[in-house]
Symmetry: C2
Subunit: 227 residues, 2 copies
DNA sequence: CGGGGGCTTGAGGCCACTCAACGATAGTGG
DNA sequence: CCACTATCGTTGAGTGGCCTCAAGCCCCCG
């Protein structure tokens, strides 16, 4: 327990290209794109929030740390997801690229200006914040009251919904990431997955253990619990 | 003797009357008041959200249940707090009065109409949702990664900030409520409090064990962890 | 190719849970 | 007003689920 997680210092984004996009009748929102190598930090907790981000390809984890290194991942952001949207001026999580990742950036101020004049945009900011809140609320139930098997089953079902692939689920994150998302240790996650494998609920495909085929979603769902 | 360390109280969230009345010439949002006996339900999860609520006096718990009865309390709402604000049309928690409680009600639709025409109101809806999100994010860290002592210490410090009393902290909720808020059992909560009592960090006052005086906030804070 | 990180598996330990008993208090009804 | 009961809280004893520590294999990846 209490092992400090070491992370790379944030390097410059590998690429940054300016794009200008006019969104219908709205004024132009300045957009650019940026890529991050796996494991690199995108922004740190308590930094001023200059941008809002949208994942183009790859995956991002956002987390909080305790002073002794214990880590809680609050969410994974996958292709298409928007993250880094803060109402106050500062980020409340640290975010890192889980794998090589490209994101689109939107200047926060330009977004807020747009929201001020455009009720539709303002409403969509609220609805995005509400989605994040809803996810966090469900995750509190998971963290506080579910067993390790239930947590892992719920995680697999969540990823099954959110990852694009049709037959095969390619998890971008490590066992440690999963563990820190679920409030477990990586060994417990590994054992739970092995157990599900023994039961024939899932199959490992590639050489890495991150490619999974769900053989029986019904039985998997039984390892989780209905609300 | 013991010199009381004064700490800043958390500013109250925007009050409903501010919202309703701030919109100047707009129709006043319809307000009414209602009281609930201790232990009674205010609304249930998945019910249509007809009202938004503000606690006048008393305390409210909002929680989710698993099918086998395990309960996770997501938040306590104390005097002045607003709850039941959902962006979608349905409540995501069940709420109950922890003690006899009076609340002010505001029709959801009238609030939303006001928000549509009034950017100030719309912004305050967003900022309330963001506060809820921020609380949930911090609570995920607590639930996933803190030990029982750290959880209980964090709980006491939170209540110390939020409860009005100056010298004595009168907790409205039971040990079981606290446990279900912290992802523990009531016995573990009780043992942690006893331990803090033995250490001289806190004192029990009344006949009930819910009236507590914090003798040493500094040492209490050491039982929790800095971020 | 060589080193290191990722994953699995086993053995053992510990923290929080379970089960239980008990006293105190609040709520209920006669 | 007083039993009567249910609820609340504390404490102890014992268990167990998850954590810790460790070893070994495989696969990247530099």
């Amino acid at each position: 327990m209490f092992v400090r997680i070491t992370t790379d210092r944030r390097p410059r984004p590998d690429s940054l290209s300016e794009i200008g996009i006019a969104s219908g009748s709205n004024p132009i929102v300045s957009l650019s794109e940026s890529t991050y190598r796996r494991g690199t930090e995108i922004y740190g907790e308590k930094e001023p929030a200059r941008y809002v981000y949208q994942v183009t390809t790859g995956a991002v984890r956002s987390y909080k740390l305790l002073s002794d290194g214990r880590r809680q991942i609050g969410a994974f952001h996958l292709s298409g997801d928007i993250f880094g949207l803060e109402n106050g001026g500062f980020h409340r999580f640290t975010t890192e690229a889980v794998v090589d990742t490209t994101v689109r950036l939107i200047r926060r101020e330009s977004l807020e200006q747009t929201a001020n004049g455009d009720a539709v945009v303002a409403r969509s900011l609220l609805s995005m914040t509400t989605s994040n809140l809803e996810h966090a609320e469900n995750h509190m139930l998971l963290l506080g009251r579910k067993t390790s098997m239930e947590k892992v089953a719920a995680f697999l079902l969540e990823m099954d919904k959110r990852l694009p692939a049709v037959g095969i689920m390619a998890l971008p994150m490590s066992r440690r990431d999963i563990a820190d998302y679920l409030g477990l240790t990586l060994e417990t996650v590994s054992r739970a997955l092995s157990h599900l494998h023994e039961q024939g609920v899932l199959e490992f495909i590639g050489k890495t253990q991150r490619e999974i085929v769900l053989r029986d979603r019904v039985r998997l769902a039984e390892f989780d619990l209905p609300a």
